[in-house]
C-alpha cells in the first residue's frame, strides 16, 4: 500500500451498550506507516473502539475499512488474518502456557501442517514446528524475553507480561498493530525503552501502529498523529503539538479549571 492511502478508515462509527453510547459517531483515517495515538480519559471509549476495529464487538452503526476491505461483518480471526493484531489493556495472555507457547500460538496463520500430520509427526511438521519455535524465540529476543521462554506466562512480572503481549501480537506479522496501553504499570525507564522499541518495530517490520496510552509524554514523543476521544466523541485530531494546545483537550483530559 502506498503511504498516502489510509490503511484503516473509521467512518461514523457508533457503539451503544444498552443505553450507554460508548463510541459516538467517530471518524478518522490512519495512514500507512504512521504511529497513531488514541488518547482520552478513562472510559472515553478508546478500548471499545479497539474492540470494534478488531471485531470483538460489532459496531452499532458506521463503516470500517481496512484498505479496500470492509471489516464490518468479519469475525476477529478473519480480521487477524487480514493482518491486524492487537494487545489488550488488561492483559489476556494464555496464563497457563509457557512464554514460548504464547508466541507460538500467534504463529497460527503461518503454520500449515494439520492435525494428522503433526500427530503422525511427518518431517514437514517437525520442520515447521522447529521454525515456529525459532521465529518465536527471535521475537522474544526482540522484546527481551528470550531468557524466560520456558516460564509459565502467568508467573511473569507485570512489565514482562506487557512485553509478552507485544511479542505475541508481533508474531502474527501484522501490517496494523493496535496497542492498548502498552506501557501501563511500567516505570519511567521501562517506558522509555518501550517507546524506543515501538519505533524500532515500526521501522523494522514496516508496520502501522495505533496506540492507546495514558502517559502523555510517551504519546507526545512517539506518535505522528493523535486522536483524542472524550465521552465517545472525537474532540481533536492532529499532530501532537496541535492537540496538546487544543483547549477542548485540556479541558477534557487534564480536567483543567
Amino acid at each position: 500500500m502506498s503511504p498516502d492511502v489510509p490503511i484503516l478508515e473509521v467512518q461514523n462509527i457508533t457503539r451503544r451498550f444498552s443505553g450507554l453510547v460508548a463510541v459516538n459517531n467517530v471518524s478518522f483515517a490512519v495512514r500507512t506507516g504512521e504511529i497513531f495515538g488514541l488518547i482520552g480519559p478513562n472510559g472515553a471509549g478508546k478500548t471499545t473502539l479497539f474492540n470494534v476495529i478488531t471485531g470483538l464487538t460489532p459496531p452499532s452503526s458506521g463503516q470500517l475499512r481496512y484498505g479496500q476491505t470492509s471489516l464490518n461483518q468479519l469475525r476477529p480471526h478473519q480480521i487477524a488474518r487480514l493482518g491486524v493484531a492487537r494487545t489488550f489493556q488488561n492483559l489476556r495472555l494464555f496464563g497457563n502456557l509457557s512464554v514460548l507457547e504464547n508466541v507460538a500460538i500467534a504463529r497460527h496463520l503461518h503454520i500449515h501442517t494439520g492435525l494428522v500430520q503433526s500427530i503422525v509427526g511427518t518431517r514437514a511438521a517437525k520442520t515447521e514446528e522447529r521454525q515456529t519455535a525459532l521465529k518465536a524465540l527471535e521475537i522474544l529476543e526482540l522484546v527481551g524475553l528470550a531468557s524466560k521462554a520456558e516460564q509459565t506466562a502467568r508467573n511473569l512480572a507485570y512489565g514482562d507480561q506487557r512485553r509478552l503481549e507485544l511479542a505475541r501480537a508481533l508474531a502474527l506479522q501484522p501490517q496494523l498493530l493496535l496497542l492498548d496501553e502498552p506501557a501501563a504499570g511500567m516505570n519511567p525507564n521501562e517506558k522509555g525503552a518501550l517507546s524506543q522499541l515501538i519505533h524500532q518495530i515500526r521501522d523494522r517490520f514496516d508496520l502501522t501502529v495505533i496506540l492507546i496510552e495514558h502517559h502523555v509524554p510517551l504519546v507526545m514523543g512517539l506518535c505522528d498523529r493523535i486522536a483524542v476521544l472524550d465521552f465517545g466523541q472525537l474532540i481533536a485530531l492532529g499532530k501532537p503539538e496541535a492537540v496538546r494546545h487544543d483547549p477542548a483537550v485540556i479541558a477534557a483530559y487534564l480536567g483543567g479549571e
Partner: protein, 316 residues
C-alpha cells in the same frame, strides 16, 4: 496369574473403558468446552455395534470375527463424528454450564428415542450380542491397544500446534480469536474427537456387556465421566486416565476389601453395605483435597525431574 485375570479381567478391562471415556470428556475440555455428550455417543456406538453384529454382519462358528468388531468401531466412530459436527456447530456457541446442559439434553433425547424406537429394542434392548473372545479378559486385545494408542495420540496432540491451540482457546477464547484462530473450528474439532472416541468405546462395550439397552449412556454417566476427568486432573491427559481407572475400580476394590479373609464378618458386611457411601465420601473428600485433581502437569514435571537428572531442553 490365570486366576487373577479370571477374577479381575472384567474389572481391569472396565477400568480401561473408564479411562477412555474420561478421555472423551477431556478432549473437548482441552479446548475449554464442558461437554457432557459422551454418554450419548457411547450409547449410539453401542447400538450401532449391537445392531450390526446381531442383524447385519453374518458369522458362523463360536467366536465372532475380531475384524468385524473393528469394523463396527469404525462405523460407530464415523457416525459419531458426523453427528458431532452437526450437533457441535450450533451447540458449541454456548458457554460453560449452558453447554453442559445442552449436551445433557442431547443425551436425554437420545435415551428417550432409544426407548421408543423399534430397532433399539426399547427397555429390553438388544441381547445375545456375539462374543469375539472366550472371556472378558480377551477384550484386553482391544482395550489395551486402544488406550495406549489414544494416549500416544493425545500425548502428541498436546505437543502439537493443534493441542496448543486447544489450550489457548481454553485459556482465553477471545484472545485466541484475535490471534487468527477460528475458535468454532477447533471447538468442533475437539468435540468431534471426543465423540469418535466415545462412539468407538460404546461399540466394543456392546460386545463386552453381551447386551445393550437404553440404560447405557444416561445423565448419571455424564456426571460420572466428568468426575473421572475432574478428580483425575483436567490439565493433562494422564489425569482422566488415572481418574477413570481409579473411580471405575474403587467400588469393586471396596467390595473386594469386604471379602478379604482376615476381616471380621461384621466389618465385611458393613463394608459391602457401605461401599457406595464410602465411594461418595471419597469423591467429596477427593474434590476437597485435590481440587486440581490427582494428576497435574506440575506433578508430572516433578516426576520427570525425579527420573531425569537434567531438566528438558527447549527444542529449538
Amino acid at each position: 496369574m490365570g486366576n487373577f485375570l479370571d477374577s479381575y479381567g472384567f474389572l481391569i478391562v472396565s477400568t480401561f473403558w473408564g479411562a477412555l471415556l474420561g478421555l472423551s470428556v477431556y478432549l473437548p475440555l482441552m479446548a475449554g468446552q464442558l461437554s457432557l455428550a459422551s454418554p450419548g455417543f457411547y450409547a449410539l456406538g453401542g447400538y450401532i455395534a449391537a445392531i450390526l453384529s446381531t442383524q447385519v454382519l453374518p458369522h458362523s462358528g463360536e467366536t465372532y470375527p475380531f475384524g468385524f468388531v473393528l469394523l463396527e468401531m469404525g462405523v460407530a466412530g464415523l457416525v459419531s463424528a458426523v453427528l458431532a459436527v452437526i450437533l457441535g456447530i450450533p451447540v458449541l456457541r454456548l458457554r460453560g454450564i449452558y453447554l453442559a446442559i445442552a449436551t445433557i439434553a442431547f443425551v436425554e433425547i437420545l435415551r428417550v428415542l432409544a426407548l421408543n424406537l423399534e430397532i433399539t429394542g426399547g427397555a429390553i434392548g438388544i441381547f445375545s450380542i456375539p462374543q469375539p473372545f472366550r472371556s472378558p479378559v480377551g477384550y484386553l486385545w482391544i482395550a489395551l491397544p486402544l488406550l495406549v494408542l489414544t494416549m500416544v495420540l493425545l500425548y502428541r496432540l498436546e505437543q502439537s500446534h493443534t493441542g496448543r491451540v486447544f489450550r489457548a482457546i481454553r485459556e482465553d477464547e477471545l484472545a485466541a480469536d484475535t490471534m487468527g484462530i477460528d475458535p468454532t473450528y477447533y471447538k468442533v474439532l475437539s468435540f468431534t474427537l471426543g465423540a469418535i472416541l466415545a462412539g468407538m468405546v460404546g461399540a466394543v462395550s456392546a460386545h463386552f456387556f453381551n447386551t445393550w439397552n437404553a440404560k447405557q449412556g444416561t445423565f448419571d454417566n455424564s456426571i460420572i465421566y466428568l468426575a473421572f476427568v475432574l478428580s483425575g486432573g483436567s490439565r493433562t491427559f494422564v489425569g482422566p486416565v488415572v481418574g477413570g481407572m481409579v473411580l471405575t475400580a474403587l467400588p469393586e476394590v471396596l467390595r473386594t476389601i469386604a471379602n478379604i479373609g482376615g476381616i471380621p464378618l461384621w466389618l465385611g458386611g458393613f463394608l459391602q453395605a457401605m461401599r457406595l457411601i464410602i465411594f461418595g465420601l471419597l469423591i467429596v473428600l477427593g474434590s476437597m483435597f485435590y481440587p486440581q485433581g490427582i494428576v497435574t502437569p506440575e506433578l508430572l514435571n516433578r516426576l520427570k525431574l525425579a527420573f531425569r537428572k537434567q531438566p528438558k531442553r527447549i527444542s529449538t
